[in-house]
Amino acid sequence: MLYFSKLRVFSVLIFTLIISYFTISNFTKVDDEFFSKNIKLGLDLQGGSYLLLEIDNEPVITQRLQSKVLEFKKFFKDKDIKVRNFVIEDKSIIFDVENSKIEDVKSLLDDDKSEINPYFQQYKSHQFNFENMDTSFKLEFSDYGLVLLKNSSLDQAIEIVRRRVDEVGTNEPNILKRGNDRILVELPGLDDPGRIKSLLGKTANLTFQFISSSSEESFGTEKLSFEDGSSEAIVSKRIVLSGDNLMDAKPTMNNQTNETVVSFSLDRVGAKKFGKATSNGVGKRLAIVLDGKIISAPEVREPIIGGNGQISGNFTFQSATDLALLLRSGALPAPLNIIEERTVGPDLGKDSINAGIMSLIIGFILVVAFMFYKYRFFGLIANLALISNLFLLVGILTLFEATLTLPGIAGIILTVGMAVDANVLIFERIKEELKNENNSIVAFDSGYTKSRTTILDANITTLIAAVILFFMGSGPIKGFSITLGVGILTTLFSVYFIARLITAYYVIKNKHKEKLI
């Protein structure tokens, strides 16, 4: 165990130097992307906000079922099958079929090539599962149909969330999917997430609907309240125009009224629709509805043809800016709920870094002093291994741009305390071997050999704990498991290559000296 080939010495040295370089690169500036890597600081160290959003998919399911009902009606009409009594109940569609066509409908729904109930070959599943009782059919989303729906609404939602967060212009936001109905938003450096939260909390479904004079209208009517809660109005269910046709929106000042408004411009289709509706509706009041609440309901004085308009509604400049931002970024497919929020202020982060570094330095000094006191020269070797261990650990974390969290720093300090264990096991074993063996080279060699399985056992147990933490843990805990796990690997390297190399040189040079250790 004491022999090292020249090539091996050389590669150990090169490897250690290269990795150590990356430790130092945290403190230097180089004009090259690869050579100027830095450890990323977790939100708990640099300050910032962590938000976990969950999509409320219920409205999406209802919406999809509603449009499916329309599809069914048309589909069966084309096939000359009479169906009636469509009801949407408890997330399923129920309808009746004339007696003679029950088998036809069954086979239409069950067919692998069915257009109305698509079949997904790779998942062996239709979009809908159906039950049949007498003339009545009940359809509900299959598990896979539901997954598909959730995924598509998640994809849409994450896009809108990204646009909204980008528009606010925070520093390097991190937006990720979690499962099939959650979105994780990390906003480094943001210590007051209030504005982002209010922007993400709105679906921003914008519609223009006429205020109805009579409650009898072909499309039906609904009662909506005003945004400020002051009053209610009866509104036609017919949607003149929706936010989908909006091209741009920005806050502006209306020169006549000296009021902040949101001006918008429409795309060509939208402009045409809007022009037609306003031409027919001169004199009527047009309600501007956002998420089921009326913002304002101005009277149409003349047809609006150019595709440009204004929304007024007692805005402050800030609220007009936010509304414009929401309209520009588009509507969310479903409401988002914030189910977890963690915010750390920047000065607490700084305090945590300082405390972490302070305890690392003190812990390190204590361990180094203790090892020197216990083993003298060999204590120095163990300490050298410990220092290179730290350089390797921080270097590898930097190279892979791992995120360092406060528990991660604790993991590094813990590694300092536990890393000397391997060298202690070896040195103690060598001491025992020297009692019965006069040849110090043989004693050192068998000391290394005999302690090897124990050291591996001891480190594998800790590594198991680290790996499980990595897969089960979240956020800061993950940071801890990474430093703990990588720390074990660098410990083994520093003990078996660096410390052993120096020990070997020393022992071979001083083999005739008494009481080596």
Binding site: G194, L366, V420, T454, L469
Partner: protein, 297 residues
Amino acid sequence: MKTIYFNKFYKSFNILSGILIIASLVFLVFKGLNFGVDFKGGTLIELRTDKSSANITKIRDSFNQMNLGDVSVKNFGNETDFVVKFEKQNSNDPQFIEEIKTKLSNSIGSVDFRRVENVGPKVSAELLRSGVIAIALSLAAMLLYIWIRFEWQFSLGAILALFHDVIITLGVFSVFSLEINLSIVAAVLTIVGYSMNDTVVIFDRVRENLRKYADVKIFELTNISINETLSRTIITSVTTLLALLSIFIFGGEILKGFSLAMILGVIFGTYSSIYIANPVLVSLKVSQRTIVKEEKE
């Protein structure tokens, strides 16, 4: 070095451990654990006040007026820092935290919210579940590893020592109502690793000595092995404790619970490797034949 007769005290320490475990279980069952917002849901605010005149009673009174459910206020580190926890969590209302801040500033003067954590009931239930699964999984993984590496008698000894350490550490947290949060789960898992590590070192030596001494009984043999590995046991515990004490004292308030759990775990882990794991080998009558059989197979 002089031999210490650890084995003389196997019985008395086993009784002590038994009492500690039962006491811990009683506390865990009847008093339970003080779960933090991670696992219970709710809101945590770490705040720094301007004046040192703001005290716990004042802060508690002004929070109690806000209708937030059960409120707890604690000093955090120094005189001007406090941690406030309450049941209500309303992260969907973007003004929720802002309103609390305004009301609080009106009654006690300017405050700075240094940290806000807001965990909904669904998330806290999931975090608790995944924490429990993580600990159970790591215990199972350790069991599997040691079962592959050693004979079953050794595995049983190591696992009993593990349970001993985890139960008593949690027991101490229950007695003193110390908060259980995500980082405590990390600490418990590390304790599991450390305790196992310590036991394995002694067991490796026991097995080696079983081969070396043909006619020494296991009662004596465990004592020889403990003594032979004793200086390593002490040195490693000392260096690990030095590092942990440094985190505990200088690492800031947030890491206090984590480092305390680890310190307890290291102490119990070291103790249990000697006084739980080894007596199990003795009472299971492990002998030279135990490992010879294994090797023949």
